[in-house]
């Protein structure tokens, strides 16, 4: 074999040439392997062979040329580069947004006001835009009281309605979903009116909203309660004359652990695939079990990169929430003092 002869000869070469040989032997081995595969021999020495070079770099190019070729030609700037320009001493005429470094918010505050957290996708981040949006939201919150609520809370919303007789409309229902970021934040209420299920989506910062009131503050076991559409109507029926239930201060929000029994099929979605906790166990057919198995994604619980991409950086979240918390406490204090003044006047 050519390869073994070459290895034998190499022992008599100086060290520098021996290193060179390692690359040439790779070529020789590839030629030899082709013969072996033709005669159906199994090569036991394949593990000892050096790895092949896959990528060949063209050293004829200058460093600058390589750098230019590798640079991604984008037609937009990275948001960190823009922030650098804003903070540059050469820049003038535009003020910088201030970072909040005061008293931090409690850790669970992001669940109280999730709409203040920005889009985690870095392509859509911008410090100035987020700050302006937060300022507008807090201004609106100073005008109307948007209380703490969760999916599963019973709420009453009054909006101005040009088609109703009194020009306002009040709706009571259970919050079955909550979403959106920034000024686009929304929630969905569900109730039964005249035997028909009704769902209304409200934008939280819409100027037509007059008041948002939480009648019963509680959570459910799931993040979305759209399965109430396929449950008996009694689970989503709430009286419009319901009186608000006040919780004592500093008590954790109670979790309603009722289990809903779904109607028999047909359903709007295949609820058995959603891993719902708020419904009674479903009678599963073999076909349903097969579908659950096919569509399950158990690896997502361990996908750290997925979680990283879907959440905002913890430091940024802390500074944002500190700003929101301070502003909210200031607004609340103003409300209380104004109420006290009113009482004194009476």
């Amino acid at each position: 074999m050519a390869a073994s002869i070459a290895q034998f000869c190499v022992k008599f070469l100086p060290k520098r040439l021996q290193l060179m040989h390692q690359q040439t032997s790779c070529w020789l081995w590839r030629r030899g392997r082709g013969k072996i595969t033709h005669t159906h021999f199994s090569s036991s020495s394949s593990l000892n062979q050096p790895k092949q070079l896959k990528h060949v770099i063209n050293y004829q190019r200058t460093r600058a040329e390589v750098a230019r070729a590798l640079r991604k030609k984008q037609n937009f700037l990275h948001h960190e580069m823009v922030d650098k320009h804003r903070a540059s001493p050469l820049q003038s005429g535009t003020e910088q947004v201030s970072e909040e470094k005061g008293e931090g918010a409690p850790r669970e505050y992001r669940y109280v006001m999730p709409e203040f957290l920005p889009n985690p996708d870095f392509q859509y981040r911008d410090k100035v835009l987020e700050k302006m949006e937060r300022r507008d939201m807090l201004r609106r919150r100073a005008v109307i009281d948007i209380p703490e609520f969760y999916v599963g809370s019973i709420m009453a919303v009054t909006v101005s309605d040009p088609y109703s007789s009194g020009k306002t409309n009040r709706f009571v229902g259970i919050c079955i979903d909550r979403g959106g970021r920034g000024l686009k934040a929304y929630f969905v209420l569900r109730n039964v009116v005249d035997g028909l299920g009704v769902e209304v989506m409200y934008e939280m910062y819409n100027p037509t909203v007059h008041s948002i009131q939480v009648l019963r503050l509680e959570k459910r076991l799931d993040d979305q309660l759209y399965y109430l559409r396929n449950a008996p109507l009694e689970h989503s029926t709430f009286s419009f004359d319901m009186q608000p239930v006040t919780l004592p201060r500093d008590v954790p929000v109670p979790v309603n652990t009722t289990k809903v029994k779904l109607n028999p099929k047909p359903w709007e979605y295949r609820w058995e695939r959603f891993n719902l906790k708020g419904i009674e166990p479903l009678p599963l057919t073999p076909k349903m079990e097969k579908g659950i198995k096919e569509h399950a994604k158990p690896w997502e619980d361990y996908d750290l990169m997925l979680k990283y991409r879907q959440t905002v950086n913890e430091d940024e979240e802390r500074s944002i929430m500190a700003e929101v918390y301070q502003e909210n406490t200031r607004i609340d204090a103003g409300r209380k003092s104004s109420r006290a003044v009113l009482r004194r006047k009476k």
């Binding site: 600058a64 937009f76 320009h85 050469l90 820049q91 859509y124 201004r139 005008v143 920034g182 909203v209």
Partner: protein, 380 residues
């Protein structure tokens, strides 16, 4: 096909060669060029991205570094740069300020170079929601002005326009001059401002020319104006025919193999055989220059230099450079009242009698400090 392309070739003669020979014929009216209109042109015929810069553009970036600098020198050089530019930025105007004119119907002002930040949701005072696009006018300076007579000798000059327009070069985002080449840095000597990351040029009438070195900010526009925004769309790279042209592809089953996302036939037979020019095929998608016309400015933030445009369609991802200028749409020109309030050629800080408020809104936009919308109950 052949005759059409010959006619389109004849539209642009080399104007500077004419001018060099006969100085009396500097004004090239429409009679000196072919204005035959060509119908049924397919657009775009084909898109080829230029691999080389225009020959008259200077080289921008450089990789050269002074290796002898150590950390202390580095700090010193930075201080020198800041001293040179930041502390003298207020007085680059060696010759006196230029004469100012009043705004006329045929005036075309310079624009600004803004960064797209993203979109927000806003409401009108009657409760109607609409989307706003937010742009930031960051660190803009006028770099150069080329009068019409000189611009007429440029290869990029359009002879249809004759001597109507001059060139106004505007730059955005000041940078460290060491990363740029020397010819690029020399472009900014006249204006006395640090070299800019991005340059663009606007066609302006001579009465709206701005002196180089002047800073542009958001007060160049007023609330209620309509603007055109131009920029590069999002770069998708090489894309297939379904994403690029919206073709249907083929069925995913029933015996189809390996052609679910392919195009079908490329041409007919007989008279119409062969692949016609402009056939929709896979290729580079995005990164086109696109213009969104006639967006209304509904809100202005003078502190952070933000423009809120009512509407969507401003091209590109966030942090794309956008050219913003007065609209060319005839129906959205300024009214007589607005024309008297235009800042010509741009707004100067010494013009302001009293400082502007931080936020300026149009009358129909809901401000978030206002109370909720109340409707009057009808008495009847």
């Amino acid at each position: 096909m052949a005759s059409k392309s010959v006619m389109t070739l004849g539209v642009r003669p080399l104007s500077h060669s004419f001018i060099g020979s006969t100085p009396s014929a500097i004004y090239l009216g429409t009679n000196s060029v072919c204005v035959q209109q060509v119908r049924h042109r397919r657009f775009p015929k084909f898109v080829v991205r230029p691999t080389a810069r225009r020959p008259w553009h200077v080289r921008k970036w450089t990789e050269k570094r002074d290796e002898t600098l150590d950390a202390s020198n580095e700090q010193f050089v930075k201080e020198v740069i800041i001293d040179k530019y930041a502390n003298t930025a207020s007085s680059p105007l060696k010759d006196g300020p230029w004469e100012r004119h009043s705004y006329l119907r045929e005036t075309r002002r310079s624009g600004v170079l803004a960064l797209k930040l993203g979109t927000l949701l806003h409401w009108k005072k009657d409760g109607t929601p609409f989307t706003v696009t937010v742009l930031q006018v960051l660190d803009n300076h006028v770099i150069n002005y080329v009068p019409p007579e000189v611009y007429a000798t440029y290869p990029s000059h359009n002879p249809h326009q004759g001597l109507r327009f001059g060139l106004q070069v505007v730059g955005s985002l000041s940078c460290d001059p060491r990363q740029f080449s020397k010819p690029y840095n020399n472009l900014f000597l006249k204006a006395g401002v640090p070299p800019k990351r991005w340059l663009t040029r606007f066609l302006v009438t001579p009465d709206a020319a701005i002196q180089p070195g002047t800073a542009l900010d958001v007060n160049h526009f007023k609330v209620g104006d309509y603007v055109d925004t131009q920029g590069r769309t999002r770069d998708y790279g090489f894309q297939g025919v379904i994403k690029r042209w919206g073709m249907k592809g083929m069925p995913k089953s029933h015996g189809t193999t390996k052609s679910e996302r392919k195009m079908g036939a490329t041409g007919g037979g007989g008279d119409k055989d062969g692949i016609w020019k402009g056939k929709h095929m896979p290729g580079m998608m995005g990164n086109y220059l696109r213009t969104m016309y006639g967006l209304k400015i509904c809100r202005i933030n003078t502190r952070y230099n933000l423009l809120y445009l009512a509407g969507v369609g401003v091209p590109g991802l966030p942090h794309t450079f956008i050219r913003v200028s007065d609209t060319v749409l005839p129906r959205k020109q300024r009214t007589e009242e607005q024309m008297s309030q235009v800042s010509m050629p741009t707004s100067f800080p010494e013009d302001l009698v009293e400082p502007l408020p931080e936020e300026i809104f149009t009358d129909d936009v809901f401000q978030f400090t206002e109370p909720s919308l109340q409707l009057e109950a009808e008495d009847s």
